[in-house]
């Protein structure tokens, strides 16, 4: 395997070239057409709502009984205008039922609708070997090879499948302790704690760390779990522009100088919340600069490595390894096992005092059921594989394969002329589609060509920036990627999706690009 040494650990942060992260703007006519499309659908939405209210059309939605029509309305009508009139029309592109393992290829059950996607029925046919470009299967650990899963089967024989208790009561198994030790070892920190659900790790632990009188500075594009945790904690939340260090520094200065809003007392704690890789953009956090800022203004840092743990870095240790940052500089390291490890759950790692505190004070630790034993064993075997502790170089091979795939795929897409966001190292590749009609047509066309993609539109992304998000995997072979690229090329031409106005050469540019000015 030829490993290009682009990731060589430099002599320090400053010597490593910052990869250029362009967020290219589409031409103006694209924005105009997007608004036009949304406008037309909204008008027709009003028309259909009127027809339903008058009674000319059958209403498929939930409604109160006749006797309750005089009461306060139970089902909020206008709030789900968008769901009713836009999402329902095209919802055959989401929630597709999969009937096999979500590996690099999978099987889909075919379903059709007779009444424009209000109800579905299965035809009984299965679509085999659809290439999977949507699963968070970065290192390919979603596999059902009997040899690899032997230890998992043994643990099921030993512990069963359910724990039937919380960690604090009687659900603390020895396998949990073993995993926590291994996670702490892997990340290079003192101690770690694992939880059964990744979303709950964020939303239930942030209230234990900050409270009223604390300040949270969170990135614009943070995940819902972080936002929910921040809101539950009752701390003051201020949002800084995505990856913009000037904005963050300005807010830090203002917070340190002015203190709390009316009393001007100093803040009890200032917590900066960022993610390693942002899943909708594929952009990577500017970690060295944030660590420098945090040290200067004496704030704490919460790093959510849900997508980056195992997927970036020369040996899979995440963004700390990518940027050569000492893991002890980051106060709270959080991550999930859903993405690169093929299991479920999350962890929080850091100093021993922090983790011991969380064991007693976090909602998730005290009330949530402990992680199931086969899942714990799956994470153990995946971690051992990545660290090389099982005696093979399989883990390292997968990490390098993922890096190769990422570089290849991104370079080819840019060459073809699509607009893609994000850092060149991130395995999450969003292709911008902009117009709602094209989003739907793209998903359907790709499915016809036996490629499964995930498209996201308005509520999850800004209204003009609908996109298709590709998640690369170490299990994808070069053949599969070439096939996907070939079909993407065709679909891009048929649907006119190649909006990029840059000129890219076919040779990869290995020399350091100068770090252009920060987006302001």
């Amino acid at each position: 395997v030829c490993i290009k040494n682009v990731f060589s650990p430099g002599n320090g942060v400053a010597s490593r070239p910052q990869k250029h992260e362009p967020f290219e703007q589409a031409p103006m006519y694209v924005a105009v057409m997007t608004y036009l499309g949304f406008g037309i659908v909204t008008l027709f939405g009003y028309l259909r709502d009127f027809l339903r209210a008058v009674g000319l059309e059958k209403c498929h939605l939930a409604q109160e009984r006749e006797e309750q029509k005089d009461f306060i309305p139970l089902y909020q009508d206008f709030e789900n205008f968008y769901t009713r009139n836009l999402y329902m029309r095209v919802r055959d592109n989401w929630n597709r039922p999969i009937c096999s393992l979500p590996g690099p290829v999978f099987d889909l059950m075919e379903r059709v609708s007779d009444d424009y996607n209000w109800t579905f029925r299965f035809t009984g046919k299965t679509l085999h070997n659809v290439i999977n470009m949507g699963s968070y299967n970065y290192l390919g650990f979603a596999e059902n090879n009997v040899d690899f899963l032997k230890t998992v089967a043994d643990k099921v024989n030993q512990y069963g499948t359910g724990v039937c208790s919380t960690r604090q009561e009687i659900g603390n198994l020895s396998i949990h302790e073993e995993l926590e030790g291994l996670v702490a070892n892997f990340l290079g920190v003192e101690s770690a704690m694992i939880y059964g659900m990744g979303f709950a790790t964020n939303s239930m632990n942030i209230p234990a760390l900050v409270g009223k009188g604390c300040l949270i500075l969170s990135d614009e594009l943070n995940h819902t779990s972080l936002i929910l945790g921040a809101r539950l904690s009752a701390a003051t939340i201020r949002v800084f522009k995505h990856n913009n260090m000037h904005s963050l520094e300005r807010m830090l200065r203002e917070a340190v100088c002015s203190g709390q809003p009316r009393t001007h007392r100093p803040w009890k704690k200032i917590l900066i919340m960022v993610e390693g890789i942002y899943s909708m953009e594929g952009s990577v956090v500017r970690l060295p600069e944030i660590v420098a800022l945090k040290k200067k203004y004496k704030a704490y840092l919460y790093l959510d490595e849900a997508h980056s743990i195992g997927a970036v870095g020369p040996s899979g240790k995440g963004v700390t390894e990518l940027f050569n940052v000492n893991p002890t500089d980051i106060d709270v390291m959080m991550g999930t096992f859903t993405k690169s490890f093929g299991a479920a759950g999350g962890y929080i790692a850091g100093k021993k005092e922090l983790v011991d505190y969380l064991r007693s004070y976090s909602h998730s630790a005290v009330y949530a059921t402990a992680m199931s034993p086969p899942i714990t064993e799956q994470i153990l075997r995946a971690l051992k594989c990545i660290m090389g502790k099982d005696g093979t170089t399989e883990g390292l091979r997968r990490i390098h394969q993922l890096a190769e795939n990422t570089r290849f795929f991104r370079a080819k897409l840019k060459e073809m002329g699509f607009i893609i966001y994000g850092n060149d190292d991130s395995p999450v590749v969003p292709i911008l589609l902009y117009m709602p009609g094209k989003v739907v047509a793209f998903a359907r066309e790709m499915l016809e060509r036996r490629i499964g993609v995930v498209v996201v539109g308005f509520p999850a992304t800004p209204i003009t920036e609908a996109r298709a998000r590709f998640c690369l995997s170490a299990a994808h072979t070069r053949d599969m990627l070439n096939q996907v690229l070939h079909h993407l090329n065709e679909v891009g031409d048929t649907l006119c999706l190649k909006f990029s106005r840059r000129k890219y050469t076919s040779r990869p540019d290995l020399c350091a690009e100068t770090n252009l000015e920060l987006d302001s």
């Binding site: 057409m33 036009l36 499309g37 949304f38 037309i40 659908v41 027709f44 028309l47 836009l86 029309r89 095209v90 424009y116 117009m435 709602p436 009609g437 094209k438 739907v440 047509a441 048929t494 649907l495 006119c496």
Partner: protein
């Protein structure tokens, strides 16, 4: 041969029109409503041009004293 290619090209252009205006997501009767509205507005515009353009052009030429 030329006719089928022409038909394919026209049908591709119609597909692009459907995608851009998001009519692709609407049901067939809604497409009919929108298309007929568009066609009737377009027809009215063309008719108005046809009826009034000579008068407007004469008025402009008269203003610039090109013709008396």
């Amino acid at each position: 041969m030329g006719l089928s290619e022409c038909w394919k090209q026209l049908s591709w252009i119609y597909y692009q029109y459907l995608l851009v205006t998001a009519l692709y997501m609407l049901e067939p009767w809604e497409r009919t409503v929108f298309n007929s509205l568009l066609v009737s507005v377009g027809a009215m515009a063309v008719y108005t041009c046809y009826v009034f353009m000579p008068q407007h052009i004469m008025a402009i030429l008269h203003y610039f004293e090109v013709v008396q």
